[in-house]
């Protein structure tokens, strides 16, 4: 019990700190892309030491706390306060089933068994739980938009809830292929399977693509950041929020991105293992390997987060009708097609897998990955060829 509490405290503190410092990183990257300096001033107070602006997140947090905590009179008070708490709880609670490292060797004062670095180990429905909680965050958005009683908030809430529920379908479909190939919803097990089967980003490129696009949309990152399209909706569903309640919304949004990065790394990039079987589950449990795995894991996650941030400054925002078309008319069919492909391959593998491996030897995985890539490119090409019907960019004429 005490162990669980320690893990929860470490995880929550780590996530909040990570969110704060990734905001700083994002601002520095934004500055780098736009050829300016970015926040590089705040260091140790009372001295002239700047530390590359590492004090900035701390200063921002303090400032948020010391700002006025204001609830306007025109809002629905209870829902208005409930909304940010809901969205933050959902965003943080997801991490109960997401591992943040492999096994630690037993620490005598805490436990005799090796310590898995996950708050709730042994939950068989891990992925379903992640989905369930990330659906809850839609409530935060729509409650915030509705309770604010302001037109911008209302429109923003409607638009973001429509976006988030629309992209939850491709998100689920992208994962189904992985679940089919691993036969498990536990994230630790999915990582272990990828040691032998190869990273799913390579063997299931279409599912990876669908999942990443849906992940961007769920996290409301830039090509899909319509929830807070500043030029159109001021602040979207959190227009009326200020002070610490706004901070909760912003942190939750950043946590969604971190969650998406965790899931992308775990499901498609082999978690804490190096590729090509360089490291595997057979290693003894010890401090060295534990730390090494955590380093590999966090390196991958940082790389994915960096990708998220670079994408933010590389693509313009979608229009809302294009966004919904992409979800329902491109990503959903692609997801279903991918699922059919993976199911067929799994079925063929069951009947002919042994002969196939016997004939191809070590190349079997590569051959399967090649098939998957050809199929993915074909499906994408087909979608692109159909694009005049799917994403008609011309103004619609009334029929």
């Amino acid at each position: 019990m005490i162990l669980v509490l320690i893990k929860i405290v470490i995880l929550l503190a780590g996530l909040m700190t990570a969110a704060a410092y990734f905001v700083l990183l994002e601002r520095r990257i934004a500055a780098w892309v736009q050829d300016r300096q970015g926040p590089n001033r705040v260091g140790i107070p009372m001295t002239k030491i700047r530390l590359l602006g590492l004090g900035q997140p701390l200063a921002d947090g303090l400032k948020f706390i010391f700002k006025e905590e204001y609830t306007p009179a025109h809002v629905d008070r209870r829902l208005f306060i409930l909304a940010p708490i809901t969205i933050l709880t959902a965003a943080l609670g997801v991490f109960a089933v997401i591992p943040f490292g492999s096994m630690l060797p037993p620490i005598s004062s805490l436990s005799e068994k090796p310590i898995p670095l996950i708050v709730a180990p042994g939950i068989d429905v891990g992925m379903i739980f992640v989905f369930a909680l990330s659906s809850i965050s839609v409530y935060g958005v729509i409650l915030g938009g509705w309770a604010s009683n302001s037109k911008y908030s209302f429109l923003g809430g409607l638009r973001s809830s429509a976006q988030m529920i629309a992209y939850e379908l491709p998100l689920g479909l992208g994962i189904l292929g992985v679940v089919l190939a691993t036969g498990s919803l536990r994230l630790e097990e999915i990582i272990e399977v990828q040691v032998t089967s190869g990273w799913f980003a390579l063997t299931q490129p279409l599912g990876f693509l669908v999942f990443v696009v849906a992940g961007f949309a769920e996290a409301a990152r830039l090509p899909f950041d319509l929830p807070e399209a500043e030029q159109e909706l001021i602040g979207g569903y959190h227009t009326e929020y200020s002070g610490i309640k706004l901070l909760l919304f912003l942190v939750a949004e950043f946590l969604h991105m971190i969650t998406a990065s965790f899931l992308i790394v775990i499901l498609f990039f082999g978690g804490w293992h190096l590729p090509f079987g360089l490291t595997g589950p057979d290693e003894p449990i010890g401090w060295g390997f534990a730390v090494f795995r955590i380093l590999v894991f966090f390196f991958k996650i940082s790389a994915v987060i960096l990708f998220f941030m670079l994408v933010r400054w590389s693509w313009p925002r979608f229009r809302f009708d294009q966004l919904m078309s992409l979800a329902w008319k491109v990503m959903l069919p692609l997801g279903i097609v991918h699922l059919v492909f993976v199911a067929t391959m799994a079925e063929l593998h069951h009947y002919y897998g042994a002969q196939w491996v016997a004939r191809m030897g070590g190349w079997a995985t590569w051959a399967i990955a090649g098939c998957a890539w050809i199929f993915a490119l074909g499906a994408l090409g087909l979608a692109a060829a159909c694009s005049p019907i799917i994403s008609d960019n011309r103004p619609h004429t009334e029929t």
Binding site: P72, I81, F154, A166, G172, L332, L339, A346, H396
Partner: protein, 131 residues
């Protein structure tokens, strides 16, 4: 230690407590200066007209309904996806003579066909059309 899911409950409670704690801290530490202008909803500097909760496009409602249908349909696929490779899953059932692999595979394909038919119907009815 209790139930397997106790840590999840603790995690959710801790997250909620963190949120509430930050709100309380903000309330206690921040200044309080109410004003008439602060009470107004933000509308780019104009005085607001009408209540904000007005009628909205029915399409949002349609999307919500379509989502519920498709999401439940997808949830039906998860047990199959897990059982297909799991040690105690489909292979065990086949060995016990409960079912055949082919029945399950083509059953799921038929189910997916129904899902696709639903999507096509929706598409042709113009539910997915935004203008």
């Amino acid at each position: 230690m209790g139930h397997l899911a106790t840590p999840i409950l603790l995690m959710i409670l801790a997250s909620a407590a963190l949120g509430v704690g930050m709100l309380v801290a903000g309330t206690l530490l921040g200044p309080s200066k109410p004003g008439a202008v602060k009470e107004m909803p933000y509308e780019s500097g104009m005085d607001p007209v009408h209540d904000a909760r007005r009628r909205f496009d029915v399409r949002f409602h349609l999307v919500a309904i379509a989502f519920v249908i498709f999401d439940v349909e997808l949830l039906f696929l998860y047990p199959w996806a897990v059982a297909n490779r799991h040690v105690e899953g489909l292979d065990a059932a086949v060995a016990d003579g409960v079912t055949h692999r082919g029945v399950v595979f083509w059953g799921v394909m038929f189910f997916l066909l129904l899902v696709v038919l639903g999507l096509v119907y929706e598409w042709l009815r113009g539910v997915l059309r935004w203008r």
